[in-house]
């Protein structure tokens, strides 16, 4: 069996929905052992979100939960009960990393803030992912995916290329903002792990979703202080193409360099309007985009995405706008093994996206399907922490697990 990049790394996850669980999933998929702590009875919020298998709501049938929690072990625990807090600390003593997403004040009240946990485990890397970070005026403010997306500029700038400002700014589809914050947190967590292994000491990693998202548009975000310009979602022609309509949908084509524009002109059959030398200049094209666009569109509309993509690829970056169905069924996804079948005891066999990187020595792999609620209670509480089975019964009756 090939080695795993994060083999031997132990992680405790006390997080739910998308951001924290995605952060931990990234580590689990590369071989870290992740123990996920869920609320007794109800479990992770994601279990109550769709898409549900066959559209039937069920704690074990949420596609969101299944995807985000593959490769993890699952236990139930209520750290808000006194015994629960103690058990939580026992768990923390045995791990390298804790990933959590609770309001900072709550963690303090429970005695589970970094200071308290550092005393229990000085090697601990504790990653906290919250809407506005651990400190500052908004630290306790609430934000769902929608709010976070708009808190970090990405919303205000979307949808890009709006004809005017009459309509509301929007978030990206799905839960992209949350996943992005999880990715950002995972990156910092691995840097802290690297440092922990070099020095022996852990630390607290404070990740603000707002700052994570602003950083993804860092150039536009800094426009105001540097140039006095406040960028908006208003259409701004760049003269380099973009997402355009064609015969069977939409395609993105970009012509930045002179030779790329020339290639597009050739593909369009060297129309007389495009012979004007001035169009070679991207700035001139940008300034006259309103005249050019309808003529390019006319050509695009008489061809399919596949044709345009194949033809433009000789010299231009391009990409067809693809639906979920097309992403799943694409020849590229098949050739790269981007989807894999995973069998889950309750939800059965389904196709899951894997990872966007191929490691030559330490491949991404599926070790287990997402945990059933409380599936690994006995393994962790008895096997690892040394509680007896009778303890488990008592803890269950007290609502702790």
């Amino acid at each position: 069996m090939p080695e795993r990049a994060l083999g031997g790394v132990r992680v405790l996850e006390y997080a739910q929905f998308a951001a924290g669980p995605y952060c931990a999933k990234l580590l689990a998929d590369l071989g870290a052992e992740v123990v996920k702590v869920e609320k007794p009875g109800a479990g992770d919020e994601a279990r109550n979100r769709g898409p549900f298998l066959n559209d039937v709501p069920h704690l074990e049938w949420s596609g969101l939960f299944l995807y985000l929690n593959t490769n993890k072990l699952g236990i139930t625990l209520n750290p808000e009960a006194a015994t629960g807090t103690e058990v939580f600390k026992e768990l923390v003593r045995g791990v390298d990393i804790l990933i959590e997403d609770k309001p900072p004040q709550l963690m303090k009240e429970l005695g589970l803030d970094y200071q308290a946990l550092e005393a229990a485990n000085p090697r601990l890397v504790m990653t906290s992912i919250t809407p506005f970070g651990q400190t500052g005026y908004y630290a306790e403010y609430k934000a769902y995916c929608l709010n976070s997306y708009h808190s970090g500029l990405l919303g205000y700038l979307s949808p890009r290329n709006s004809p005017n400002l009459d309509r509301e700014p929007i978030k990206a589809g799905g839960l992209v903002g949350e996943y992005s914050c999880g990715l950002n947190a995972a990156l910092a967590t691995l840097a802290a792990l690297y440092s922990q292994r070099a020095t022996g000491s852990g630390q607290h990693v404070d990740v603000s979703k707002q700052e994570s998202l602003i950083s993804l548009q860092r150039v536009f975000a800094a426009f105001y202080p540097n140039q006095g310009i406040n960028p908006t979602r208003l259409a701004q022609a760049t003269g380099m193409g973009g997402v355009m309509r064609c015969q069977d949908g939409y395609i993105s084509v970009n012509f930045v360099e002179d030779h790329q524009w020339q290639a597009v002109v050739r593909l369009m059959g060297n129309p007389s309007w495009a012979q004007d030398e001035r169009y070679k200049d991207i700035a001139f094209r940008a300034a006259h985009w309103e005249e050019i666009e309808p003529m390019i569109s006319e050509w695009m509309l008489s061809h399919t995405r596949e044709e345009i993509h194949r033809w433009t690829q000789e010299s231009c970056p391009s990409g067809p706008v693809m639906s979920a169905e097309e992403v799943v069924n694409s020849a590229q996804a098949k050739a790269r093994g981007f989807f894999t079948n995973i069998d889950h005891p309750a939800a059965g066999m389904a196709k899951y996206p894997t990872a966007p990187y191929i490691f030559s020595e330490t491949p991404w792999a599926v070790d287990r399907s997402a945990p059933l609620l409380g599936e690994h209670n006995e393994q962790i509480y008895c096997g690892r922490l040394g509680h007896t089975r009778q303890d488990l019964v008592r803890m269950r009756q007290a609502g702790i697990i």
Partner: protein, 404 residues
């Protein structure tokens, strides 16, 4: 000064533009020494032009965009087309831990700088290749920019108004690819720290987007459903939208996730009569009648500033946050308190305000160590100090346009 998380890690950075180049910057924030390898023949794209605005920059050292995307790096100039230039590049790799590149798949190999070539020079090298659709498969030589990654990745299709076209997405898409690469490099660094082995990583910028819509893809694989665009709407929650506030283009996002939050919301806005309407009595009826509900909520927000709405609703325990713009984020008290914005002096374009690192690490703080480098700014340090070339040889290499 505190120790940096990645103290002692050196990166030979052949990457350019945004998706490739910014991965190195993220690692530089964490303390890695990142040496960007460029030349007059092929300076980084964003030195000359902004792909977000189309803006052109006069010289090669005047781009605020390049500065921001390449903060904290060093730069050397090497003519890679010359055999001696190639030797210099390999000498840098020999003293590095990581190589990053996002040239068109196959191009580095043509120069003799592929993973095979460089792992002969440095057997435990971690070599990260980033490309539009990965280096294998029928699209394995594909050319792409951010809008193409978002299109192929499936995100453009589901982003937009319900009655509008798919949305073009750019800057954040490139940087998500950069974050993905930086994460993968860190996983490989951790593995090398334990095992002593390097490896090659082939990152697909389009797949880097697809993995972020996992549940949307699973709705298709489990249920055969193709999700479409729906603006700000949520599958269950309502109200769940951006509402216009007082002022020009001012909006607040409000999301109500439970009956408890709904009651908090109606109390906070003074329980106007319409909140008693049975069409809003439970979560499902609110969701079904959300168009009507949105209008009523907006009647209330319109009379207030988006900050006021945030304060009133957050005090009541309801998630409400303005759709912030650049100006507001720059003057925002919360971000000021967290010292998110930082100032950096650039020798040509002067003082620049930049977003600081997006994490606060208590023991090994991340930092913006320096401005984005001038082209070849660190020739002396890298060729002289690190590689030990005598200064007369450096002068000769410059004259022969090998350091170019």
């Amino acid at each position: 000064m505190d120790r940096a998380a990645l103290a002692g890690v050196r990166i030979a950075d052949f990457a350019w533009a945004w998706a490739g180049a910014h991965a190195g910057t993220l690692l530089a924030f964490l303390g890695a020494e990142v040496i960007k390898i460029e030349s007059l023949i092929r300076p980084d794209f964003s030195r000359t032009r902004s792909l977000t605005t189309g803006q052109k920059f006069e010289g090669l050292d005047q781009s605020a965009v390049f500065n921001d995307i390449n903060l904290g790096k060093l730069s050397v100039r090497i003519n890679l087309g010359h055999p001696r230039g190639l030797e210099l590049a390999k000498a840098i790799v020999q003293i590095s831990d990581v190589v990053t590149q996002n040239w068109r798949p196959g191009a580095m190999e043509l120069f003799g700088l592929g993973y095979k070539d460089l792992s002969e020079v440095k057997p435990d090298i971690i070599y990260l290749s980033s490309s539009a659709q990965g280096m294998t498969g029928p699209e394995g030589r594909s050319l792409g920019l951010a809008p193409d990654f978002a299109a192929i990745g499936g995100l453009s299709y589901i982003t937009g108004y319900a009655d509008g076209p798919p949305t073009e997405l750019a800057g954040e898409i490139d940087l998500l690819s950069a974050y993905t690469s930086a994460f993968a490099i860190l996983a490989a660094l951790n593995y090398r720290q334990q095992s002593g082995y390097g490896q090659h990583i082939d990152t697909s910028s389009s797949e880097a987007i697809s993995v972020l819509i996992g549940e949307v893809l699973m709705d298709y694989t489990m249920n055969g459903r193709v999700q479409c665009r729906q603006g700000n709407r949520d599958e269950f929650m309502a109200p769940h939208n951006c509402y216009r506030c007082r002022g020009e283009d001012k909006w607040v996002s409000i999301a109500v996730g439970s009956d408890e939050e709904w009651r908090a919301f109606t109390n906070a806005i003074g329980n106007p009569e319409w909140t008693e309407d049975p069409s809003f009595s439970d979560a499902h009826s609110r969701w079904r009648n959300q168009q009507q509900l949105d209008k009523l909520v907006e009647d209330w927000t319109l009379a207030r500033s988006h900050y006021e709405v945030m304060e009133i609703l957050q005090q009541a325990g309801v998630a409400a946050v303005p759709s912030f713009n650049s100006q507001e984020l720059y003057s925002d008290p919360h971000l000021k308190e967290r010292r998110f914005w930082q100032e950096i002096e650039h020798p040509i374009i002067g003082r620049q305000t930049v977003a600081g690192p997006p994490w606060k690490l208590s023991a090994t703080p991340a930092r913006v160590y320096r401005h984005g480098p001038l082209l070849g700014e660190h020739n002396e340090y890298v060729f002289g100090e690190l590689l030990g070339l005598p200064s007369d040889e450096i002068v000769r290499l410059v004259e022969e346009k090998i350091i170019y």
